[in-house]
């Protein structure tokens, strides 16, 4: 089995904001190994979210290549990118992005439903996953009836329920207080250590960085420190 989950080679990304081009990434190289827990850190505009979006197939590099689980993203069309995100990548967003019309269990289950899993199997797995993030009692609640921390945990459950090869989290603690952040990070660490889940998170929160096993600092679209 190949140990490398993500390879980024010479990725550049420039946004044309009105007349001034903004160089978000300038030839970044990166390898993410199976079981890594990586934080992409740096000030605003350093390119950490852009790099995370390239890895997640939400954005395309202008130059260079991004390979996820041995698939080069530059060769995929829109539907193939959607399928790759569905099958291989779990996303945790800063704003949780749960569907307000679905219950916690349905929110966790709908990605599996997109994958075509049977109702019984996804219901069982959604309940198990919610239990693993400590929310078994809130399965029937809708996001509007939950706290921010609880919503973020549902979002994590949704991201990991399909057992993706890679979990991407963009500023997962941005909207949480320190106590809830601590709980969230312990949960991510548990997923990483006990289940070997590969996690890449973009953050500027030192508390998050402290939990990760690899820290990559970006500045002006380039990696400046990698430990």
């Amino acid at each position: 089995m190949n140990d490398v989950v993500v390879t980024v080679r010479g990725a550049t990304r420039t946004y044309n904001e009105e007349t001034i081009p903004v160089h978000a990434l300038r030839g970044v190289d990166l390898e993410v190994h199976r079981g890594d827990f990586i934080s992409l850190a740096g000030p605003s505009g350093s390119g950490k979210s852009t790099l995370l979006n390239l890895i997640g197939g939400l954005d395309q590099a202008d130059e260079g290549d991004v390979i996820v689980d041995q698939v080069s993203l530059s060769e995929l069309n829109e539907n193939q990118l959607s399928d790759l995100r569905l099958e291989k990548i779990g996303f945790v967003f800063q704003a949780y992005n749960l569907l307000p019309v679905l219950t916690a269990e349905e929110n966790v289950g709908f990605v599996m439903q997109l994958q075509g899993m049977s109702k019984t199997e996804r219901s069982e797995r959604a309940r198990e996953t919610l239990a693993s993030v400590g929310l078994e009692d809130l399965a029937d609640r809708r996001p509007g009836d939950m706290s921010g921390g609880q919503q973020q945990r549902v979002a994590i459950a949704r991201a990991i329920a399909t057992k993706p090869v890679l979990l991407l989290a963009d500023e997962p603690s941005a909207n949480l207080d320190s106590g809830t952040t601590e709980e969230l990070l312990q949960l991510l660490k548990k997923l990483n250590e006990e289940f070997g889940m590969t996690i890449v998170t973009a953050t500027h929160d030192p508390m998050v960085m402290a939990y990760t096993s690899r820290k990559i600092n970006l500045r002006d679209g380039a990696i400046v420190v990698s430990t």
Partner: protein
């Protein structure tokens, strides 16, 4: 494509904005109700006109001697053997009637008028308006009845009444004029004043004696159902090979044109109403989609294909349309059940009758029209959702998540 998930999301989104969608549902229901009610009136007028045209001595199909329609004289008559009625397509036939119909002049003490003088066998006239007309006096008894019946309008014009005698002049088979006096047996009152002004009836044998010719000028057949017309026409063309066989549509092209126009009018009316409605539907769907751009961006980020997002908006629109149409059709059906079967426009009857239209409209609700409205509404619903759906996928998931 996960249709169940898309349907579930669409339904929940409809309920989520229940007030807005309720307004939209009401608008659709009212539009459908309006179309359905207009349909019942248009269909009523359409079928009443056909019934009137068929009943006005045309039948579904009529047989004449060649040239009679250009020169309707007794010289264009044809003989019929005893037991002449063709034994063809028997189960499709409601009845046959053989008549003489020739131009004549009628005179009272005060007035003179040009008329169509028609010799009938009353026993055969169950297929024409004569069987449904109201009579002051009596209808004719037999084919040899020498009395006449005239229309109410003509009685007014001639300033005459039941029991009086009138003189009728027409051309005999030898080309010479025949003149005879006839007593009025009855005055008929039917829908449409034009008929009452033109047709005067007597027994067919009496008229044959007057013109010295044992012939008829027309044979009408009324069918059990309009659907049998083509097969019967085919049979009659072969049976009366030497005569002209024509359908009511050929004999009354204006009525036939109106019948077809009514069919188009139904589509036209539906199209106008639905086009107006579609703007409201598109507007609501665009609002609904733009409110959920972030949400739709997340769905695409986690792996929903653009086609599935389009499908979700289409399903949402289809659901709204389906509920609205069901509501409108149910309301329409209930109102139709509560309405009297005949819409009486007698207060405007003069205007109607001038156009040869009956003042009473038998409202008709066709199941096929309800199906048509449903199918067409669904098509409109899908079309209306395409623009909002395309807008939903035009924004990349990344842009959508940033909004």
């Amino acid at each position: 494509m996960p249709i169940t998930l898309l349907a579930q999301l669409s339904l929940r989104n409809i309920v989520r904005h229940r007030r807005r969608n309720l307004m939209l549902l009401m608008a659709i229901a009212v539009a459908v109700l309006t179309v359905l009610m207009a349909n019942t009136v248009i269909r009523g007028m359409q079928y009443d006109l056909r019934e009137q045209t068929v009943s006005n001595l045309n039948g579904h199909i009529k047989v004449h001697a060649p040239g009679y329609l250009d020169d309707p004289s007794i010289a264009r008559g044809f003989e019929l053997a005893a037991g002449w009625e063709p034994k063809i397509n028997v189960s499709e036939v409601e009845g046959w009637a053989a008549r003489i119909r020739i131009p004549a002049v009628i005179m009272s003490e005060r007035e003179t008028r040009g008329i169509q003088f028609v010799g009938i066998d009353p026993a055969q006239e169950s297929i024409s308006f004569l069987s449904k007309a109201h009579y002051d006096g009596q209808p004719l008894n037999t084919s040899s009845d020498r009395r006449i019946i005239i229309g109410k309008e003509m009685a007014d014009q001639l300033e005459t009444q039941v029991g009086r005698r009138l003189v009728i002049i027409t051309q005999g088979s030898d080309g010479l004029n025949r003149e005879a006096g006839f007593r009025i047996a009855g005055v008929y009152d039917t829908e449409g004043t034009a008929i009452e002004k033109i047709f005067v009836f007597t027994g067919v044998t009496a008229l044959q004696n007057m013109v010295d010719a044992i012939v008829v000028t027309e044979v009408s057949v009324r069918l059990v159902d309009d659907a049998f017309q083509l097969s019967m026409l085919d049979s009659l063309l072969r049976f009366f090979a030497d005569l002209e066989v024509k359908t009511w549509q050929q004999l009354e092209p204006l009525a036939a044109a109106f019948f077809l126009f009514a069919e188009s009018a139904i589509y036209l009316y539906f199209f106008i109403i639905m086009t107006a409605l579609i703007f409201g539907l598109v507007n609501t769907l665009v609002t609904s989609v733009m409110e959920r751009v972030h949400e739709l961006g997340m769905l695409r980020a986690v792996g929903m294909r653009p086609g599935a997002v389009v499908m979700q908006v289409v399903i949402e629109s289809t659901f709204i349309m389906m509920i609205g149409v069901a509501l409108g059709l149910t309301l329409g059906w209930l109102i139709f059940q509560l309405l009297p079967p005949v819409l009486d426009l007698s207060s405007f009857s003069e205007g109607f009758e001038k156009f040869g239209m009956p003042a009473k409209i038998h409202l008709r609700l066709h199941v096929s029209d309800m199906v048509l409205i449903t199918v067409m509404s669904m098509v409109f619903g899908v079309l209306a959702s395409l623009y909002p759906a395309k807008r939903a996928v035009k924004i990349s998931p990344l842009e959508a998540l940033r909004l």
